[in-house]
Point group: C2
Chain length 467, copies 2
């Protein structure tokens, strides 16, 4: 949220309820299943109910909608052949990576064939001098960073889950390091895409990994964030960064949201190259204290991290401390040792579970919006009022899911009213299609529809998502 | 060139020859001209030969191809009405900013109406807390930075010319600061675009200026670099940066191209946040010495600049010096005083004129390519050999233009062979359409053609460019 200052507040908890249910079966002809098997081999096709069910949902609360078959292609040629087969038969195609999305992007709303791409998990090329790497769709961000360990380089984009990198490209993912290193959008140099009819597209030309170009339309940018609705990403060329020499983390508690936001603006205006800056409200801090055994003050808090040389960090730390103090910070706490630092960020990464622990036996409902940073205090105040008015904090409420959905929609509208976006990093998926229309307007939606119709004239690529 | 290390070498000089010639006239009906005048008023429409001629070329060597009329809309509503009028009459539309392009992007190859957008020159909004500004198409990069002078912010993208910012967005421009601040592509948050038929599109939704989003297809990225072939950019929301507290510049001479490139890679791997890094070969250095009265060693040379606090710069300078020395640098020269620094960068910015001065009475031919940084030495060696073989350095040559064009095409192909791009910042325009096909391949070109046909079904937006 908020111009790369991400804010996390404890809202959106509701009672546990039945999850995956109806499984459509027998929609596929035997011939068609045989044709799939002819491409990838029998062991790599499944129509087993349990498998279909497992592939019909992500980590969101969207109802499980299973595909009619799951295939595990082993290479890009098979992806291409499968896509051509499905497309010619009018069969929906749903790409599937780690299934860690948060907006129902993998739900097979019209059935069809789920392409599980995790068997394609090779790192195809690493160019350390050019700061680039090429990965197949089964490679996750943690696997890549493990591979890079001795290279002096790393890939900094870190959404909560250990998502696949190609899935992150498809979703437009982000994470805690975006303030310094950008989102996935800023770090994709080239994509290999199987178009719906099976054709192979290299968005920046085959094998290319330059950092800037003015050559023709930006196809790479069009496919990043397209959520599998324009094609299947079968390889991504990513930009790497030098691994930080030294890292220091900190927390800083403030008397108000405004003071935390003002500090953030001043830190950025002072060009302090902060790597991570995350805001947690007092309810979230309390939850983190309890869950992760922290001893932080229960107040609006910034989590910060700096990357650089020993000497550079000393100066960054000092400047930041001065800025926060001049904005009335209560308390500043630096964590320099690796152990202390990872405890802090583990607490931040476990914020979701800390929130869940506030109401044992409940499930969480995740949403995200983004506003210009100057509007962050407003939207936080508004959201807290909405939350109160919604009665969602009443544990006796029996109709919570509907109301938490209404709250998330309202939060999206509030972000739009403050010149923001209804999603900074989770994507549109199933749940935010109406909000997208309000965000980009009639001409924007019509333009997107035209692009979709051009690249997927039969409407078979991950149907029902985004538009 | 080269992964944001830009390299400049002295090639491409040829004899002066006749420039603008044939003026088509009388292609427009009186009724149509009257209709144009009814929208913008008589003083803002011209069909005078001199005006048409002036609008038929940019700063490249592409032959002048004048439009049939020039209009100066005063606001976006007029742009929209004019576009609708032209489109309904099958009349080509050519957007025109400062006319400083380098690939013939404004040549009216099919005649039509040139939209000179320089009368729309307001800065519509400045949000210092959110680091954003909204500019109309008549605002140039220098005008914006003058406006920002007391805000503590600046806009760092700096192509050679004082181009209009919307024109820079249309072209996909870059400049000397790209290594730290990115190209124009990384710094456009939103665009207001008049589509060919007159409809108004806000690529990220009206009034929005957040820094990250995962909401739908990336329309902003599609229009950046589209060279006026998809619509007319009538306003751009740009990302601003904190103005550097202190600046230090330096030059460093090397025994070889390889040593300069190795130094660059090591500087980047060490995460030294260098703001500018430019390579000049020994011929170019010699020309700069003569033209700008510098006293630099005639050798392959890096021009560097660092931005930051006094303390941070001290460390950056020291590290960089160590790295270059370990790579065998001959000579390191720091320029800390503003005057000394601007003399250095003025010399770099005047490199074009320094090259021209090597052969008085000649015109220059500009081209650009970009390769992964590890391949820079190869392409420089290859290009120098090609240059020698081409006979272009022979002043008695009477057929130079054809040969310099052939040399530029060959340079583009060499970049492609080294996994690079045929243009890092000048665009495709008229001259590099064949190279673009080779760069992105048949499926890539077909995808671009489909996008063009979708957004401009009658093919009237800046026809003959890019594709």
């Amino acid at each position: 949220m908020a111009n790369l200052l991400r804010a996390t507040a404890a809202w959106g908890l509701f009672s546990c309820r039945g999850y995956c249910s109806r499984i459509k079966q027998g929609k596929l002809s035997e011939d068609f299943v045989e044709a799939l098997k002819a491409v990838v081999g029998s062991p790599h096709v499944s129509t087993a109910a349990a498998v279909l069910q497992q592939h019909g949902h992500d980590e969101s609360m969207h109802r499980c909608q299973p595909p009619d078959a799951v295939v595990w292609p082993q290479n890009v040629e098979q992806v291409s052949q499968l896509a051509a087969l499905c497309y010619s038969q009018g069969m929906p195609i749903i790409p599937f990576g780690t299934g860690t999305g948060l907006e129902g992007g993998v739900c097979a709303v019209q059935g069809g064939v789920c392409f599980n791409l995790t068997h394609m998990d090779r790192i195809l090329a690493l160019n350390t001098e050019d700061f680039s790497v090429v990965v197949e769709p089964g490679v996750t961000r943690k696997a890549l960073n493990t591979h890079l360990r001795d290279s002096g380089l790393w890939f900094p984009v870190d959404p909560g889950a250990d998502a696949s990198l190609c899935g992150m490209a498809a979703t437009g993912a982000s994470g805690t390091n975006a303030v310094r290193y950008g989102t996935i959008r800023d770090n994709v140099l080239n994509l290999e895409v199987v178009l719906p009819g099976g054709q192979l597209l290299h968005t920046a030309g085959q094998g290319r990994h330059y950092r800037k170009s003015a050559a023709g339309y930006n196809l790479t940018g069009l496919f990043v964030g397209s959520e599998g609705t324009l094609g299947l990403i079968t390889a991504a060329t990513l930009r790497l960064h030098p691994a930080p020499e030294t890292t220091v983390a900190a927390t800083c508690a403030f008397p108000s949201v405004q003071a935390a936001v003002d500090s953030t603006v001043h830190i950025l205006q002072a060009a302090v190259p902060v790597a991570r800056i995350e805001f947690l409200d007092e309810v979230m801090m309390d939850a983190c204290n309890r869950h992760s055994k922290l001893d932080c003050r229960v107040a609006p808090t910034l989590f910060l991290e700096f990357h650089g040389s020993e000497q550079a960090l000393g100066e960054q730390v000092q400047r930041t401390e001065e800025i926060t103090q001049s904005n009335g910070a209560f308390h500043f706490s630096w964590a320099k040792e690796a152990e202390e630092r990872s405890q802090l960020w583990a607490a931040r990464h476990n914020a979701w579970y800390a929130a869940l622990a506030l109401r044992p036996g409940c499930k969480g409902y995740a949403t995200d919006v983004c506003v210009p940073i100057s509007r962050l205090p407003e939207i936080l105040v508004q959201a807290k009022e909405d939350l109160k008015a919604s009665g969602l904090t009443d544990p006796e409420d029996t109709e919570e899911l509907r109301r938490v959905e209404a709250f998330a929609q309202q939060l999206g509208r509030r972000a739009l009213a403050l010149h923001g976006t209804c999603t900074g990093e989770h994507g549109i998926g199933l749940g935010k299609r109406q909000l997208l229309q309000e965000e980009v307007g009639a001409v924007g939606i019509e333009t997107m529809r035209q692009l979709k119709a051009t690249l997927d004239p039969r409407g078979l690529m991950n149907p029902g998502k985004v538009l």
